[in-house]
Symmetry: C2
């Protein structure tokens, strides 16, 4: 099984997100954290799929692969939310979080994650898209959620695993864990391609 093979590899997750760390740990995988700083730029003419795959590769770019053992595996991921054809990232402040949640209310949006798995010799990139259907959120619900959960570090201003995900979402179509921030089944398949 993959988990036995992974014992021969040193794995780094290049991410600042505590949710990604928790999701990777829940896959039974041992890893260390490595954080890279990159300016997240892209061509606005690109499709959401191209953007998240590009950004996941970009997060890998500051790492000097040559200095690592050939068996080292690096994992990077980038997530964006697209609603009414518009890309929304992390909110700037409370008013921005309110604006985003009003856009999501009573509407369907898509969460895209780009995932890159790389060794010093080989690199794989893929993505997943998941549709999320929100019920209509009252202003009171939006206020309560922002005040209580402070979702300022989250693309689209919400965490599906938090209060708003339990009381405000009608339906998820696709990978729930992708909406949380890491398409875990896709990662499993890519690690199998890399190691088995």
């Amino acid at each position: 099984m993959l988990l036995d093979n992974l014992n021969n590899h040193k794995i780094y997750l290049a991410s600042k997100s505590p949710r990604r760390r928790e999701l990777l740990a829940g896959m039974g995988i041992d890893f260390d954290i490595l954080t890279t700083d990159v300016e997240e730029t892209y061509d606005p003419a690109w499709s959401p799929e191209e953007i998240v795959m590009h950004l996941s590769r970009l997060k890998l770019s500051p790492i000097d692969m040559a200095q690592y053992d050939p068996k080292t595996i690096f994992i990077t991921c980038d997530t964006i939310v697209v609603v009414d054809g518009q890309i929304i990232g992390k909110p700037k402040d409370k008013a921005d979080a309110e604006r985003m949640l009003k856009m999501l209310s009573g509407n369907t949006h898509t969460v895209y994650s780009g995932l890159t798995v790389a060794t010093p010799q080989k690199q794989l990139t893929n993505y997943r898209a998941t549709d999320v259907v929100f019920e209509t959120l009252s202003d009171d619900m939006i206020q309560y959620y922002i005040d209580t959960y402070q979702p300022f570090d989250k693309a689209g201003s919400y965490g599906v695993q938090e209060w708003i995900g339990r009381v405000g979402i009608r339906e998820v179509r696709g990978s729930f864990y992708n909406v949380m921030g890491l398409p875990t089944r896709l990662l499993w398949t890519m690690l199998e391609q890399m190691c088995l």
Copy 2:
């Protein structure tokens, strides 16, 4: 907002499931636990929807409502898994868990939850159904999961929030929290019908 109204009510969750308790707590709702013992019988000719709604009402039946304040709210829930037209409950032993996970592997099943919300004067019952698509699970993966997670208290022998849910599920269509054991959004709507 509903949470303010609920402050005037005493709420009991009649369930032994730690997952249901955690899901209800994550909705921001204060409650106490009350456990009832009933023999979970039903007519096998009934549809899955009828069965789970019946069983959620049945779990309420041992409670002597007359002795409670009229503002008390009771919540009961029952979940079953249906695959290839067959209802599967909790596994009897390791071999039974293996058999169930082999039925789910590479297949789509449906998780049904029946939910009852009641006061001494009024009773509401409804249900949610969610489709779950599993990837093909190798025998090694099934062995590892059963040995590590001991899913003997779970309908269908798996927890979507555990390792198998992260690495083995391709897609969820509907309420993820229903698959965890409590259709949280449905409960929110039913509590609004009861209290607002």
